[in-house]
């Protein structure tokens, strides 16, 4: 019984400690991020390319099929009420407010987040971060911050691209295959989707961008410098990002809807 209680206590202590470390790590990044953005824009642009442009394939492919599924399911449901012409509104609101930011964050974590964590973890395992420290170069400013900012900047754009291709997917299935009226599809969407709806998605994508990028660089930076340690850091990146994004999604939705 005592062992069991001790294990719970140690688990809670470890969790609180890691949350504290993550918070301090975030403050350290936040303090020096503006300076890096101004003084070393080239480093940030390179990371926007690595995290953003290199994720385009997975975003476009997944976005298209998510939209197509949404078109099929939406049509099947809406036609029961004779409201299939509202397919455009249904798909767009689902995507812009929920599916777009959440799925993009999860896909970003799987593609770019794991790449960031393993890259930084391997740099630690091969003494590259220690070598930088020895050259009087702060690895947090030179390596971590550009990668963090690259992810934060890329995420809203990836979300927008995901949404656009997914709406096209829903249009393709709904209008081309199922015969929903093209004019009704676009006009209902235009009439019912407000700027406030879009803003909800933008706010979520910004928050998820910060969370997914922060967790990726943190897991890589604090990884145990072995092959197994880097592997675990990569896995933890996906797991912690998925859990955090889904919890935050509920909290943000509750806050934004009021």
């Amino acid at each position: 019984m005592n062992d069991w209680l001790c294990e719970i206590r140690e688990g809670i202590e470890a969790f609180v400690r890691s949350v504290g470390e993550l918070t301090l790590f975030f403050f350290n990044i936040a303090i020096y991020s503006p300076r890096t953005l101004v003084r070393r824009p080239g480093l940030v642009v390179k990371q926007v390319f690595n995290s953003g442009a290199m994720s385009m394939t997975i975003i476009l492919t997944c976005g298209l099929f998510v939209g197509m599924v949404l078109g099929l399911q939406g049509f099947d449901t809406l036609q029961r009420f004779g409201a299939e012409e509202a397919l455009g509104t249904f798909a767009t609101l689902s995507l812009v407010k929920e599916l777009g930011p959440v799925l993009t964050a999860l896909l970003f974590s799987g593609r770019a987040g794991t790449a960031l964590a393993s890259e930084i973890g391997l740099m630690r395992a091969t003494d590259q971060l220690a070598a930088m420290e020895m050259m009087a170069v702060d690895p947090v400013r030179r390596i971590v911050i550009p990668r963090f900012l690259g992810g934060v900047i890329a995420m809203p754009f990836l979300t927008a691209i995901f949404n656009m291709i997914a709406i096209f997917g829903a249009f393709l299935v709904g209008v081309t295959f199922m015969g929903v009226d093209q004019g009704a599809f676009w006009s209902q969407m235009h009439a019912n989707v407000t700027v406030a709806d879009v803003n909800q998605g933008v706010i979520k994508s910004l928050v998820f961008g910060i969370v997914a990028s922060l967790l990726a660089v943190y897991q890589g930076y604090t990884s145990v410098p072995t092959a197994e340690g880097v592997g675990r850091a990569t896995t933890r990146t996906v797991v912690t990002t998925a859990i955090t994004v889904l919890i935050l999604d509920y909290l943000l939705t509750a806050t934004l809807i009021g």
Partner: protein
């Protein structure tokens, strides 16, 4: 800041250091004279690399002082530590080249980070340093295209890029072919003699490093057990020193890590 040890460029006084409750150093004392080549030798696991990390401030001793140019490294702020490191170059065992930069950019890295030199001058410096280690022709190659020995030579060029006052070499000869080994040895010696650089060399290569070192320290059991010129070490009566200098398997330093009885373990009588 108070100058604790003004005489030597690096002084280690009564240093005690534990790693995971295991004692690595137990009252270590070493003085590194300015402008000389100092060899630090010892059997595997005696903490030679740990010693280098203490000197560079990557680790902090549990007790005692590690002083560089009279300043206690443990008392330095991060800015002071970085200012000290700008005067140092360190060659890591595996080279530790930045894998996303090519050879040229690796050597140029500290120059780009710490100076505003024009591109033309950076190019000149980088090619000069690469030429010194015999790898000017590799300037476009990525670290993954280099052999282990070549990567270490590029790392040596990088450690020289800022013309440091102290260069720390962690096993600089490991894995090098005889030609490269000779070149690197002569380079360490020439840098030391021509520029007055202080060199600290951690190595197992007793004879090669002994040929260029001005003084040597032999470590065992967390302490210095012998010091002096390499010739003096060879004449030392301490059996550990004799075993290490002669490279003998039998002696006070066991070749085998402590374990259960060999025969009993083979017969499966030892619990897994």
């Amino acid at each position: 800041m108070k100058n604790n040890c003004p005489e030597s460029i690096v002084e280690i006084r009564d240093v005690v250091f534990f790693r995971d409750a295991k004692p690595i150093f137990n009252g270590l004392n070493i003085k590194i004279p300015r402008g000389k080549i100092t060899a630090v030798m010892g059997p595997s696991g005696t903490g030679k690399t740990t010693l280098l990390r203490l000197i560079t401030g990557q680790l902090t001793p549990d007790r005692g002082h590690v002083c560089v140019e009279g300043q206690d490294v443990a008392q330095m702020s991060r800015d002071q530590l970085f200012a000290m490191r700008r005067k140092m170059g360190m060659l890591f065992q595996n080279g530790a080249l930045l894998t996303d930069l090519n050879v040229f950019e690796n050597v140029a890295f500290p120059l780009r980070e710490h100076t505003d030199l024009p591109e033309k001058l950076i190019r000149h410096i980088v090619l000069t340093k690469l030429h010194a280690v015999g790898l000017r022709g590799t300037w476009r190659m990525m670290p993954s295209e280099l052999s282990g020995g070549m990567a270490r030579r590029v790392a040596l060029a990088r450690s020289m890029a800022m013309d440091p006052e102290i260069i720390i070499y962690d096993e600089p000869l490991a894995g090098l072919d005889p030609i490269s080994m000779g070149v690197i040895l002569r380079l360490i010696k020439r840098l030391n003699d021509a520029l007055g650089i202080t060199s600290i060399v951690v190595s197992h290569d007793v004879h090669e490093i002994g040929s260029i070192a001005d003084c040597s320290y032999l470590m065992a059991d967390g302490k210095v057990i012998a010091s002096g010129a390499p010739d003096e070490l060879r004449k030392d009566g301490n059996p550990i020193v004799q075993q290490f200098m002669a490279g003998m398997a039998e002696g006070p330093v066991p070749f085998h890590y402590p374990g259960p009885d060999y025969e009993e373990q083979l017969l499966g009588k030892v619990a897994e």
